[in-house]
Symmetry: C2
Subunit: 354 residues, 2 copies
């Protein structure tokens, strides 16, 4: 057949396959920045109640929007729900498609999907290297030109775990032409302990800023794919026109709504993360290994030029971490903070390999 | 702010809000072509097993692909999984975007999402009116020009329930230039009893034909959003590049895989549909009401110029059907075939209103 596909699409990279594996019980999985604890009994119970209704199309998106809005003292019209933040990222790109004003700026490294999705929609992507492992907002600003349409910021930054602070963000937002959409992906925000973490949501009504959050990390629902976006109401209404109807399924909607109200679970998760972080810092210092202090539920360890080999050897011992070669950080591995048992197991295996 | 959104996006219609309502127990819901029975105990049981893993990103897409492929004696590379057929429709549009060859042809009426999605991706949509309530493949062929990029066929056709037959499809496919992608959406195919229903899957390797199927209808999983596409392997690989990673969640994947293997459930559903259809035909003939014989799990009833009012009055009695005014069929309502209890309840209320 003569059916042709645009070069643009042919050149879109496949998503890293390493993330797609399924693993058996017993593996120590510290590779995908997931929450190490299963959903709370409250979430499980709400899901059970919904099972007999699965023959019906999903309802309940309005209720989840209302609950999220209330938790931030916003209006429901300022909230968008997506099938993971990925769908929200795509909605921003779809709505902002433009024949000539088609530039996207991202940090390098950053979450891989920004670039993949931007390429699908024909955007030209410029990348700004991090400075001291952190998003460099000054260098990023210097790259803006008349073609710039969207900027994706990731705070805390995946894969480094660092943040940019309130003051830098405030200056940045005020200095950007207001025909550019700034998407602030805060997937890991709940884990940030630094009190200078930006109050980005306070900018959504006065600036073209959209803040993305997710139930995949601190709320422990990566398997259900629910993200949300917060922004100015008329902008959100435009974005919603590009959304697939029913893109978030019944189970995802009810689980997210229940998780949002389950403060005890969230508290437990954040305490475990804090404890794990302190354990790792202390242990790695004892081993004289460099690491990047984190504001997220993962962090970078500098294991040296053998980082790729060490990742493979950890894998052979059923410990899964992420080698950072593909992110241009070939001396580093990224490790998710797990349960104390998982953290200890990782350190034990790592010690033997070094 | 000066942020602008393209007119193209501003003009995309919102999806009909009527479908978004949630209804309490006790309502007779015959408006969305859903399966009237809850998922089988086997599906529920598989879902329960997966609940403790929801903190992990979804796995199992490869297994579902393999199971679907095996059920059609295809290779896994000929199968794509989507978050409902909607995602597959979007993947076709994303991959086929083209600056000048940007025409889409659809039947009118047909499933509303084809046009909404095509507009989001900047395609120009031409519509071919049905003839005798059926897709008119001859008129459709006449509309093809050098700009035509995609044709969406829906068989059986939503909202009329009619089919085009094998012979007509065969002639059509052979006469179409092979730089045009033909997407055959067979969401309701399992319900078709007419033995002349096309064997469309036999065309996927020799023609640019993609067949879409879904777990939302006969398999009773509308609330979970799982569709799949069957097509030539290299074409499917290109389409997959435009797919959101993890777009089908853990619960959806495991439920679909289990549902596919549960032949008894499917048999029960198809028998109920056949029985309901015969009940409706007989009853409506007794009431001297015209209807359109169906190959799906829904059908059109000609209730006359008061169809809109009758729909509202049915609603007041907690019976939900779809008024076809928005589809240019203002004398008609579309009724899903429900359980025998629901079918009887609908007829009782309708009788009193006529």
């Amino acid at each position: 057949m003569k059916l042709t596909v645009d070069e643009k699409i042919k050149n879109v990279p496949h998503y890293p396959k390493a993330m797609m594996y399924g693993f058996e019980d017993g593996w120590t999985i510290l590779s995908s920045n997931e929450n190490p604890f299963p959903p709370s009994p409250k979430v499980i119970s709400a899901v059970l109640d919904a099972l007999p209704t699965l023959n019906r199309y999903p309802g309940g998106e309005a209720e989840l929007k209302a609950a999220i809005a209330a938790s931030y003292s916003l209006e429901a019209g300022q909230v968008l729900i997506g099938n993971g933040s990925n769908e929200l990222i795509e909605m921003c790109l779809k709505a902002m498609q433009h024949p000539t004003k088609n530039g996207v700026i991202i940090s390098e490294p950053s979450f891989a999907f920004y670039q993949i999705a931007a390429q699908v929609y024909g955007f030209e992507v410029k990348k700004v290297p991090v400075t001291d492992m952190s998003v460099d907002l000054t260098k990023l600003k210097d790259l803006i030109d008349e073609k710039t349409r969207l900027i994706f910021l990731n705070n805390p930054l995946n894969p480094t775990g660092t943040i940019f602070e309130e003051k830098a963000f405030d200056e940045f937002v005020r200095s950007i032409p207001d025909d550019i959409l700034i998407v602030v992906d805060e997937a890991y925000a709940e884990f940030a302990e630094n009190t200078s973490f930006p109050q980005s949501i306070q900018y959504i009504n006065s600036f073209p800023v959209i803040v993305l959050r997710t139930f995949s990390k601190a709320y422990g629902l990566a398997g259900l794919r629910v993200g949300y976006g917060l922004g100015e109401a008329s902008l959100m209404s435009f974005l919603e026109r590009t959304k697939q109807p029913f893109s978030v399924n019944t189970i995802a909607l009810i689980a997210a709504r229940t998780a949002l109200s389950d403060k005890d679970y969230l508290k437990k998760i954040l305490e475990n993360n804090k404890k794990g972080k302190q354990f790792f810092y202390k242990t790695l210092e004892g081993l004289s290994l460099e690491y990047v202090p984190t504001e997220a539920n993962f962090f970078l360890i500098k294991v040296g030029p053998e980082a790729g080999t060490i990742t493979k050897k950890l894998f052979d011992k059923e410990v899964l971490v992420r080698f950072m070669g593909a992110y241009g950080l070939s001396d580093y591995i990224r490790v998710t903070i797990g349960t104390m048992e998982e953290n200890t197991r990782f350190i034990e295996v790592l010690k033997k390999l070094l």
